[in-house]
Amino acid sequence: MSLVVDIEKKLGSFTLSAQFETGSETMALLGASGCGKSVTLKCIAGIMTPDRGRIELDGRVLFDSEKHIDLSPQQRRVGYLFQQYALFPNMTVLQNIMCGVRSGTKEDKKKKALENIRIFQLEGLEDKHPMQLSGGQQQRVALARIMASEPSVILLDEPFSALDSFLKWNLELEMSDLLVSFKGPIIWVSHDLGECYRNCDRVCVMEDGVTGDVTDMDTLLSHPQTKAAARLIGCRNFLAAEKKENGIELKGWDISLPIETDKDGSLAVAVLDSAILFEEEGISAVVKRVIEDMDYAVMLLCPEGKEGPFIRAVLPKDEVPKQGSTVHIRLIAEKCICL
């Protein structure tokens, strides 16, 4: 079971260029809002048509601009969970799920829909209309309807954006449990790193309409490959650096790091929070400011006798030194990434 996507689409001044391949796993498509995640899903589902490229699902060609293949959404067997679930408001829960069943007599459809109602724990709600359901129940109906249509791939478009954060946790667990029985690829679109980390096996970061490599979650956290990826995982420091003989040197700081890079000239280095150690032998830095957050504090550090550039370091609240005091820091080269 695999999904191969390689498409391009121009929308006004925005250009989408999505390339990735995913198997029977949950792949996160992670990116800021407006970066083209939903457009990518719509192209896969056949709701939007790419200008160029190819989409293949389990060896079936869904779209190929060169061979002029463009299957209708009905033929593609793509399960699409919309942000607001898109339940049909004029139909009951049972009728909504029956809409998903693709073949058989009305009786067959009803039987299969009732089976899904049982699996998705919707018993007792058969005759209710979507408007009478809670957000979580609506989501379960939408999932049951998608599963009834026996899709080859499932696309989840920001599945929890319509819910209160209070409800999210439980529903996330519930959803993972319900999706376990699905054997094909799942694409989980989100802008929330934590949500992706908890629910997805692998991740593809998208920035300004362009997808990056598909990596596993831990690789993304330890070695983000682009500035967008580094920003998404919460990296606070992007420092200018210069290439030297034995690695790179951070501008303004007397710090050399033995990092090899193919790039020349001026570089940007992403310094992850975990790269910064406080050690006596380290380089002295002045605490310019302390900003307290809810459960930790961020310090703005600058080189002694200078006004910048700042390094932002994180410490537990009770370990934070006073403003104006001097600390000694060391950077772990493996956790600094040359972009």
Partner: protein
């Protein structure tokens, strides 16, 4: 009192409303999908009868349907039928005059439709026809019904174009509106008043129905957004 004009008015209005019902829905659905320029042009042409004097519409129709004109001549030669000056001639006039009302109302209703519902239906494998009749139409039901009733009400009151294309022949092409004019002109004020009362009461009832439909539509929209 001879009730023929009422019967004639009602059947002309009913048939016209049915025709306009389907034409208006089809036009609203397909024109929305066209490129902006063509949509703009078609919009103007199809809405024009709403603002033109009915006599101008009647004149234009006579230029096409009259026995010596393109279509009228062809129908007369092929089928031996004169299109104008029969009771059903008024249907042509009424359809053209009333069409913009239905078209505009339905288009407004369709614009409020949440397209993701249609996308969802497609990905689930539902045919476009099924989606149209079982999802889009129920969603827009109130708007479509209001348009149809409004079209029927206006069709009932059509005078100008009808009088030009069907004329006034008692017991044949006479409608309520043409009868009122005829009676008033011939000085039969008392009978004219009776017809006026009949007309006003029917129209009032129809408008009441439109109002009720729109009110229900409004409260449904409120429920949806809350």
């Amino acid at each position: 009192m001879d009730w023929y004009p009422l019967l004639n008015s009602l059947r002309i209005a009913a048939i016209s409303a049915v025709i306009v019902f389907f034409l208006g829905i089809a036009a609203a659905y397909y024109i929305a999908k066209l490129p902006r320029l063509i949509k703009g042009i078609l919009d103007v042409i199809l809405t024009l009868p709403l603002v033109l004097p009915p006599t101008v519409v009647g004149y234009l129709l006579l230029r096409v349907l009259g026995p010596k004109r393109i279509i009228g001549k062809w129908v007369l030669e092929t089928f031996g039928i004169r299109i104008v000056m029969t009771w059903w001639s008024a249907i042509f006039a009424t359809v053209v005059v009333v069409f913009p009302l239905m078209y505009r109302t339905v288009r407004g209703a369709f614009e409020s439709f949440d397209e993701t519902l249609s996308y969802a239906g497609k990905t689930l494998g539902l045919s476009n026809t099924y989606i149209f009749w079982h999802i889009r139409m129920p969603y827009c039901r109130q708007g479509v019904l209001a348009g149809a009733v409004l079209a029927f009400a206006r069709a009932l009151g059509e005078y100008g174009a009808t009088s030009m294309i069907a004329g006034y022949t008692p017991g044949k092409t006479a409608t309520v509106s043409t009868t009122v004019y005829q009676l008033w002109q011939t000085g039969n004020d008392a009978l004219a008043l009776k017809w006026v009362i009949v007309n006003v009461s029917i129209s009032a009832v129809v408008l009441l129905v439109v109002n009720m439909l729109e009110k229900r539509n409004g409260s449904a929209a409120e429920r949806r957004s809350s």
